[in-house]
Symmetry: C2
Subunit: 533 residues, 2 copies
Amino acid sequence: MTTVALAQLNLLVGDIAANARQVIDCAARLKGQADIIVFPELTLTGYPPEDLLLRPACDERVAAALRDIAAAARGITLVVGYPAMRDGVRYNVAGLLRDGVVELEYRKMRLPNYSVFDERRYFEPGAHAVVFEQNGVTFGLTVCEDIWFDQPVQRAAAAGAQVLLNLNASPFHQGKVREREAMVGDRARRFGVSVVYVNLVGGQDELVFDGGSFVVDDHGVIKHRAPVFASGETLVSFDGAQPRAGSIAALLGAEEEVYRALVCGTHDYVYKNGFSSVVLGLSGGIDSALTLAIAVDALGAESVEVVSMPSRYTADISNLDALAQARAQDVKHQSISIEPAFDAFLAMLAPTFAGADVDITEENIQARCRGIVLMAISNKRGHMLLTTGNKSEMSVGYATLYGDMAGGFAPLKDVPKTLVYRLARWRNRDGEIIPQRVIDRPPSAELRPDQKDSDSLPDYDLLDAVLALYVEQDKAVDDIVAAGYPRAEVERIARLVDRNEYKRRQAPPGVKITRRAYGRDRRYPIVNGFRLN
Amino acid sequence: MTTVALAQLNLLVGDIAANARQVIDCAARLKGQADIIVFPELTLTGYPPEDLLLRPACDERVAAALRDIAAAARGITLVVGYPAMRDGVRYNVAGLLRDGVVELEYRKMRLPNYSVFDERRYFEPGAHAVVFEQNGVTFGLTVCEDIWFDQPVQRAAAAGAQVLLNLNASPFHQGKVREREAMVGDRARRFGVSVVYVNLVGGQDELVFDGGSFVVDDHGVIKHRAPVFASGETLVSFDGAQPRAGSIAALLGAEEEVYRALVCGTHDYVYKNGFSSVVLGLSGGIDSALTLAIAVDALGAESVEVVSMPSRYTADISNLDALAQARAQDVKHQSISIEPAFDAFLAMLAPTFAGADVDITEENIQARCRGIVLMAISNKRGHMLLTTGNKSEMSVGYATLYGDMAGGFAPLKDVPKTLVYRLARWRNRDGEIIPQRVIDRPPSAELRPDQKDSDSLPDYDLLDAVLALYVEQDKAVDDIVAAGYPRAEVERIARLVDRNEYKRRQAPPGVKITRRAYGRDRRYPIVNGFRLN
């Protein structure tokens, strides 16, 4: 019997010494229980380390960490991921550490360079299978993307691998857990290998890694699944190359997996940046209500402060609902009217604007006064400011730069408005955290009298459907119209998406939860003459 | 005799139809004068088209444009760059259009995927030389990066090329013009080919292309050089494969080339985004003074509006110097005190901040009040707001998010403070545009009484020297100390650079003029545990 441990760790990008300590501590803890521990891709640097890889000091630290880890690899086999310069070329490596030495190194063959990935910027591909024997079983090594292609798996199998160890840093998006398992199961069956799939967990800037490590047998049947969004090690025993049945965590529903991704991503972004508390503006609307729920679930009520900032256009009901939420969530709440500052700016600008019509300018001043108040509280108290905008708004620019877009992190940045509603309803499943009235009221920015989002934007069902086609699937306007959407609305939406790239470029990061998020995932020029038709 | 035209065009990314019209117009204009016209890399999409390449409509439009251009290629040979899907694979192509058809296509062999480049995200490399005969001379095709490596040139020469046509989209940085010519000259000599190097001109988001197209003979001697930062076609005649001597534009000095890059980048960013005028805050300091000079040189005085925004901490001399500059540059000027808004915020926040010390919070409020005033004028009048911060400040975070960092474009973003001074002195060469006192005064943010930059920052000579080593050359702290800089200062600077990635991520774009700019050129994680030592 061979026992393999899946070390689903939450690592800190760049902190090579701390990540190495996690490996060494894990080895010490599991010695005597496990024969082999498998760690995530690029264990030592975390993922993605980006241009830290270009610092010569990075290579030196990885080399030093490897010596320490090798010394700990006695009586237990460690499979660790790291970048390695070999003959002047950098590879993304899975190293086999055993008997006090780095015994073998596998070089990742398939280097993703699409979506959020830039691996060709840093690495050259490997070409050779690497296998090793333990307890009479032949194990093969692969790294992440390798297993999405036949060739690396085929080469490992041809080299004799019976069990494939696959080190991953596979970011979350909706439905990704099922997608991965189906794909790995298929490849296991076709090549007749069991697969140990170990994934990173935790948030890193725009990305969140869900963990969800698993083991399939050579028929592609799931024999073990670790819980998602939780770090820890689980053990799976093999009889020869056949995994025994282990614990199988339940898959999450569509809303729960997204919600937990948002909580994990927010928690890690705040803590990994050295903060421990947040502030946010609570308007009485659905976006700030959901953001508050996420913040409290991520950080605890005592670490969250909210501010209502009414103006002449704020409905009483908004103030009441904001207060009700703050009480329901037991967070510190205060109300600061923005009227004095708004009035001051109008007076300061009166000579300049004499004779000009009131327009979006005055709306933006209000949003920016709120931004100043929130940033002042953030600066004074050391809270990170969370912004509350959603993906639908980010897409069409229905947000004010330096106003409601001000902040360090935007939990809902990749969450379309229609999904915001679904998540709010889901979060209320065990008791009303978000007042039903907030969910039911027509959304409004409350920047002019009786304003509604629907004055400026299409219905959110239509907007989100068109955005999914235009942004996530790159469909042309004509194709979207052919799919049954009204041309005038489709053109308007596409034009707004294109024109507002400049705003998104100055937006804070948020958690990627869809197949295509804004940020590293979608690289559009600001200067852009691409026409709609 | 064969006459080759170098079409150093300013193209608009994404506007395939308009770029194709430029090609067709150029062909019509030069018919009878030139035998061959060479256009820049990715002529039809502009460069870099980024994820527009992933839109299926992009391929359709390129195909349609190619049909139109081919129809115009009668009695003249056109060498045009475009992306091309061939058998499901996308290549970066130089197409030879002659006698009404696309006769040949060369596929770029070397795809840069470092610095600002992401070509592996979109393209697969080609492997084969492509040559064609015209007037008994054999011409070979290459695209940009190809000529920085031996192999593509060697293959072209082996296929018989006597004259290499090289299509470029090579972005500017300091000294790049000389670097390119030396490299191309060397390769021409070693492989015994003449080279026609045609480069794009104009600004695209963070990049500016300087043009500076040239021809070298097979001894590596420059026979023609087009002016930099200007679009247009120039003709070079060949006797057999030997270029005749043509016009050779003078190389620019170190300050002038940077200044003209900034003017070109600012002009194009403003116009290509559909603006025709700008507003900026004029503080009486050197950064805003230089930004004003650039704006006026780029757009004309009638398209530039400046605003002074004094507070209780603004020295009289600052107001006077700002006014003097506005008059010297003949731009619309107004002064709006930020005191009423600053007072309003202090009063609004007084209950919240009761008992807390005055700190950076109050400084940031002032900077943000200025940001609101400027953005209001920008919104109301349709001016783009230029921000005035320099690279030294951007590096260490000596700037206020949503305050002085607010704006659409940051001309000095990649210009270190010491270079700001050099550029200001250079711009004054023919008469004082920037008052000497502005150049001579110690710099201050004027956000508290008697504040000087030197209270918070090292001397700028030291700061810029350390930044060049740490940011541009990726040196470790120990190496910088070993180079003779004081450890405490080096550590402090490096720490500030690392900690302020979050600010830079929300900064507007600016013109890359150094070997490594912030933005696409330097991809650092915000969450970053990489330690200094």
